[in-house]
Amino acid sequence: MSEYNVVGQKLPRVDAVEKVTGAAQYGADVHPAGMLYGKVVRSKQAHANILSIDTSEAEKLPGVRAIVTQEDVPSGSRIFATDKVLYLGEPIAAVAATDPDIAEEAAELIKIEYEVLPVVQDVMEAIKSDAPRLHGDATKDGPNRRDIITKIKQLSDNQEVDNNEEIRKLEAELEKYSDEIYYNISAETHNAAGDVEKGFAESDIVVEDTYVIPRVHQTYMEPHVSVASADSSGKVTVWASTQGPFAIRSGIAGRLGIPLTQINVIGTTMGGGFGGRFGVIITHVPAVLLSQKAGRPVRVQMTREEEFLDGRPAPGCVIKLKTGATKDGHILARQALAFWDSGSVSGASIGSTIRVRGVYKIPNIRIDAYGVHTNKSGTAAYRAPGAPQAIFAGESQLDEIAEKIGMDPVKFRLMNMREEGDAVPAGGSEPKVGYKETLEAVADAAGWWNRDADENQGWGVAVGDWTNGCGPGGVYVSVHEDGSARIFHGSMDITGTDTAITQIIAEILTIPYKNVTIRRGDTDSAPYSTGSGGSVVTFTMGNTAKLAAEDARNRILELASERLNTNADNLELREGAVHTITADPPKSITLGELAAFSLSTTGGPIVGKGSFARKPSTPALAAQIAKVEVDPDTGRTRVLKLVASQDVGFAINPMAVEGQIEGGVVQGYAWAMMEEMQYGENGNINPGFVDYRVPTSADLPTVESVIVEVPAPNGPYGAKGVGEPPITPTLATMANAVRDAVGIRITELPIKPEKVVEALKNNGHKA
């Protein structure tokens, strides 16, 4: 028996009925009277100077009510391209018309004259001196140049000795690394601990490889959509499909110079987000501009093709990784040089390169990571931003080391995993995390220790770590005369977070789950809430909900104390009523009676308030094992078994947690095996679900989920964020399984049949 009644239970989601019956209101369901249809006019070139923009023909088309370009942006904030386009699909203008077909026709009538420029879409090409430049970025130096320049500077700074000869020698050496002068760099980050050169020198085995991970799209089911309505007083209402209404409110305010509280953002039911639904300029700002100009509500809704051209997908990257270990299996050093494809603007998650470290004791580590500009749209978060890419490299290479040493991949990982109290390079010490417990749990559940495999079958294992974010939130809870409770808050439901909040409040108020309802307000009415991303919601809003329920409970006990004529510390709340602990005869009063009583008291109704911003989070581990069978003649891979364990701290709703694990695993599998945004000479060439493949249920066996619970000290009931970790190890799990099955190491994703056939041929296989 659990010590809890509502949390820890597999309860149906609070929004199950509205989702299943179709009653849920998504962005495209919003249709205010007089609404116009907006369409963004997009660049037909991946890189070009704009010579002219002529809207005159479009303006004459009957039904067109507004056309906006950058000239209509009073703040000057860049919403539309004016003199230059940097990627295929970049917005140049937007039109609003009485009918979507008219809007589309008007968009085609806007004449844009281009002077086409050379295009660069590959990061390794973009860093070269002869690559087209997107911006006027200063060049950056690679790792060897950085080291030499640092040494030269140290020597020059030392005035006491004559170092001139040594400096000349170093300067000569610097010349040798002219290919380490990088162009088109948007950002860089460097981390080091220990001495990697020393670590590699002491290693018995050193493995070096280059890993290439493609750009992938979040492929949420609902494309971006917003409906904006600007009234004559200047007040702007935006129905937005977003993970963060408050971020959209401040984003619109900042971009367009509208006072914050003149903007009301109403979050509509979200058709998936995965980190990609925070952008403010994709549809929200164009909708507001069009509505302001037309004086009528305007909907701007992306097609799936537009999602691929101008969404904000996850960045691809190239990671050169080197690992050294002793022959008895101790990892001594790891070094990464990474180039992240940031697209036309900075923002790729280059900081996540550090995740090649994994959860291992690696005394010597060095990371040099660069964001690179290419002629593609910018990027954004996607489920554990940057971690799947870095962990793919790290965990693939770990298996290569284990293979060379002749150690079991699970044992090798267990041996090197950090433990509670170990020093953390960033400072402090390792908290209690179920690293080993989680890996052991998946190995046991999958039958790893007595695994069998027929010809062309193989097993792969990998682990991935992630730590949930944290952010501000506010929750109110009211108790009504019928003993029920209602929650009011402003965070977007993602993956069942409203359900978790409801369970927590029902638990504390000791009332049945079905007697608690939850309402989300808009930004005009609800208390501030952080965006629903970064696995923050259950951690943040769970803590906030707990505070609100505890605040309500205090008022309940205060009222009961008055009503039952006893001290509050002689009272306990259980099963929806307050009971005396010692009284003869025992006395009690229900929550409904107390709520009714409260209405005529000085203190007033039962309203609990919770307000919370941050507390340290605890890392979480996801461990996965796959068994696959590869057809060596066609290169096709079938997954026979897929088992995923995760240290979730505490599962507030185990059914929702399992759903998150399954979802993450499937997205990781897809990234490993089929998803990839492809680019031709003039931008993205697979902008749709025909040639951008997402898996169906026929591609995978049932994912077996194993929940491990090592509580997080600051999580509600010990809960950790669960949404992001499960995608992090799957890419490497699949690559490691294919390696085990047919002996080929695929370092460039996705693992398409053609690559497998090619690699096997190079290995001597003949069909």
């Binding site: 066609t634 096709r636 095996m673 492809q678 169906t696 026929a698 398409k752 069909a767």
Partner: protein, 282 residues
């Protein structure tokens, strides 16, 4: 979507007359046309639905196991037909490969063929069934063997006003099999498609037909490979040689799905595999 005129004729001559106009398109299941119109890659000024014309759908089998499939027969019906599963297994297997069940409940076999995609999933099965295509037009009509229907990607010998009405499949007395090379298990487009059909007499191959999709500008028969097989005992080595001969007959392109070289290699591998299964079924 651009504006267009929509007609629902109830007779073939009327449909043929309308279809003879410029910028006219036939609407069967709509699973290709409507997508194209939404994407503005198809901009017909006239759309003629075939839905209201009686007698264009259904599968019938005569006493000699000759099968007729109406052009407006749903792909799902082809997939589930016991007669087609039994006598033209490769065609039923090809039908099963198209889109989702929802798509197959709308899409028609006539549309799949008339669209003339080199990658159409029912085409390899019809090729190895040696199907005759019946075509109606204002001046009566004609029949064309399926392997003479296609002239290029999206191109056929059909003249303005000509409408495919049915496919006639002679009694095959053979075993057949279709394999589609793809990445995703279901709802994927064919990287290539291979169908083989084999008639055996006393353990010797009497007749073999190999149909290939997405390896040339049109779906093709691998006649050299077929001739290689004729009159021989189907050893694994022979089937392997047939695979190589079939691959040599192709002229695939490289595109975003895969390289021409990979397509050729897969023709080799899958021809052998479909032949193995067809022999087992013969």
């Amino acid at each position: 979507m651009k504006n267009f005129e929509f007609f629902e004729p109830t007779t073939l001559p009327e449909a043929s007359r309308l279809f003879a106009q410029e910028h006219a398109q036939l609407l069967a299941g709509g699973t290709d046309l409507v997508i194209g119109m939404k994407a503005s890659t198809e901009t017909p000024q006239t759309v003629i639905s075939l839905q209201k014309i009686p007698g264009l759908d259904g599968i019938s089998t005569d006493a000699d196991n000759n099968i007729t499939i109406g052009a407006m027969t749903k792909v799902r019906e082809v997939e589930l037909s016991e007669d087609i599963q039994k006598h033209h297994t490769a065609l039923a297997e090809g039908a099963l490969e198209i889109g989702s069940i929802q798509i197959r409940n709308l899409a028609t076999i006539g549309g799949n063929i008339a669209h003339a995609s080199p990658a159409a999933d029912t085409v390899a099965g019809l090729l190895v069934a040696d199907a005759q295509v019946d075509i109606a037009s204002a001046d009566g009509g004609r029949a064309v063997p399926i392997n003479e229907l296609f002239t290029g990607p999206g191109q056929t010998v059909l003249k303005p006003g000509e409408i495919i009405t049915q496919f006639r499949l002679p009694n095959p007395t053979s075993g057949s099999h279709y394999i589609k090379h793809k990445i995703r298990e279901v709802m994927d487009l064919a990287f290539i498609g291979v169908a083989s059909a084999v008639n055996l007499e006393n353990g010797v191959i009497k007749e073999a037909r190999i149909g290939l999709a997405a390896v040339a500008p049109t779906p093709i028969r691998a006649t050299e490979a077929e001739n290689l097989l004729k009159g021989k005992i189907p050893t694994l080595e022979l089937l392997r040689q047939a695979g190589e001969a079939a691959a040599a007959a192709t002229s695939p392109i490289s595109d975003l799905r895969c390289s021409a070289e990979h397509r050729k290699e897969m023709v080799n591998v899958l021809t052998k595999r479909t032949l193995q299964r067809a022999v087992a079924r013969a």
